[in-house]
Subunit: 241 residues, 3 copies
């Protein structure tokens, strides 16, 4: 299974062309669109999202992960094996949390370069062929690399990293670390208590909960938390008492 995690959008030509490459090279692989709207051009916020959602997939999954504002510049193309999962993408911090949380990891620079390599679309020309090879059980030509690390990034990010289709705001905080009575304090000063699920609070009420992938998520029952609480990617949050 090849799982796509990008900021490409599903419409427009990018995801489609990348899938065309995968289909031609690895026709038997299943392709799953996980995120096509990862935080745009933001490897840091994306790194927390990727680590939280990748953990749900079984060993053997190949992640083709491309949030790559430096495409065409000097950043290396890499592939990673971490806890039995494989990752392909740019060496720009996108895999920082995957690496940090892994029991064991191996990082290699992709050495192969296609005959036709565009300056702006390595997802199609470089990363997709590498992901297809991995899905076929082959390893692309590679060399050792010490990946870029961001040890100053926190283990959990107290910021909004994603706004979903319903207006719910996902943070980079893992909920397991927090006591049931924890209050989430927003940058506006608003204080949001915890609930188990939507129907546990009245319509229009804001709450936070542990979402289905373990992250702290802010929601409004039958409403949009992003609008009601003025949240967007990068908004700070804090855990209060």
């Amino acid at each position: 299974m090849i799982v796509l995690f990008t900021d490409f959008g599903l419409e427009g030509p990018y995801t489609g062309q990348m899938k065309a490459v995968l289909r031609r090279s690895a026709p038997a692989a299943e392709i799953i669109d996980l995120f096509a709207d990862a935080p745009r051009g933001d490897p840091k916020a994306s790194a927390y999202l990727l680590a939280a959602y990748a953990a749900w997939f079984p060993a053997g999954t190949v992640f083709l992960a491309v949030v790559d504002p430096g495409v065409g510049g000097p950043r290396a193309p890499i592939m990673i094996e971490a806890d039995g999962r494989r990752y392909v993408g740019p060496d720009n911090g996108l895999f920082e949390l995957v690496l940090r949380r892994a029991k064991g990891a191996r990082v290699l620079e992709i050495a192969a370069r296609p005959a036709a390599l565009s300056a702006s679309f390595h997802g199609r020309d470089l990363f997709a062929p590498a992901a297809a090879s991995l899905a076929l059980g082959q390893e692309p030509a590679s060399r050792a690399i010490a990946p870029e690390r961001h040890r100053d990034w926190p283990d959990d990010l107290a910021e909004i990293v994603y706004i979903d289709h319903y207006g719910n705001a996902l943070t980079g905080l893992r909920a397991g670390a927090f006591a049931a009575e924890s209050i989430l304090v927003l940058a506006s000063g608003a204080r949001v208590g915890r609930a188990k699920t939507f129907s546990a609070v009245p319509p229009g009420a804001a709450f936070w909960y542990e979402n289905s992938n373990g992250l702290v998520e802010i929601a409004v029952n039958q409403g949009r938390a992003d609008v009601a609480l003025a949240l967007r990617i990068g908004s700070s949050v804090a855990i209060g008492a």
Copy 2:
């Protein structure tokens, strides 16, 4: 064939994770994205849309239908066989019109509960495994249930139930019931006549027509009816003389 009808969006993680479950459990099934933008959190409007579009698919199709604002609350998970089609989803009125229009129907509560059941994502954890079983010709463990019925809902809904990518406004009215010269009267007082198709009226003109699934649909040739006529989901319409 498994047909998805949800308010999850295609981007973001929800549809992708649900498909990952289907792919693992029923790899040979075809998966079709029908609606990922059904009326958000609105089982009533969604029920008219689902009944109109499901009728186009052949017997044997499995519909995985999730518009589920009460997820995590007491509403039951159900599966339905109606006129040879199968449906899986929440017992919250979403299947009211499917049941009402069926020549024969059987409703069961899904009894199986997965080991890991999140509070907020039954589409992935509960409904998708059940739909995969049905697609494989197996029946998940179940028990008899008298589903929630909404007999006060009309047979045809004189409201906008969906705004499409072009700004066309679909109602919950089946066009077959109306005479060719019927006038549609909007809440604003605007009166809209019938045409066969877009090119039958001048650019910029509003009209209604029987859409390709039998519903009364309001459109503007080379324009957006939602903007031109201030229509949104829930806007009332009436049939005049």
Copy 3:
């Protein structure tokens, strides 16, 4: 491989129903979503986009291309063989640039009409069955036709034809025709120089580059060109010295 190029959107029922037809008729064919957001109701702008992106795909590919504001009117349904690729869609100019740039082309009118042909959704009822037949190596019943030609349209269109997910603005100009030092002059009078890729200019700077399919594309590093430069589909550009 069947490649979809439409203005239908991926959400909503249109792409899904069209795929359901393809899946039933040609289950072994791969289906690729290339554009579901081609310029809405605009066969001219779409024609430049289609010609640029179709050229990337190998011979044998079937393009199901539907940008069809005249659906239900007199325009003919056609199929084209051009340089080994096949195209199915409306005869409204959408294939003008494909035809003009082809070394050799053959155009036929699709003669078959399905028993159930809706007035507004020929993508599902007429074009998809024809595309499925072509993917199976069969040729639908057809007759000779002299397609609509638009010889007054330029070989390269000095207008924005698409705004992508990042806010980048694609023109209908092929970059190969322009010297490296060419300046792009916008309708606003703004002058935009060329760069190889995003990371070659400072954050916030506008530039143009040859995109991964050979078109002149206007971008802002770490920003949105459409917003920063007030560009939309149809905005004029010119090449300066």
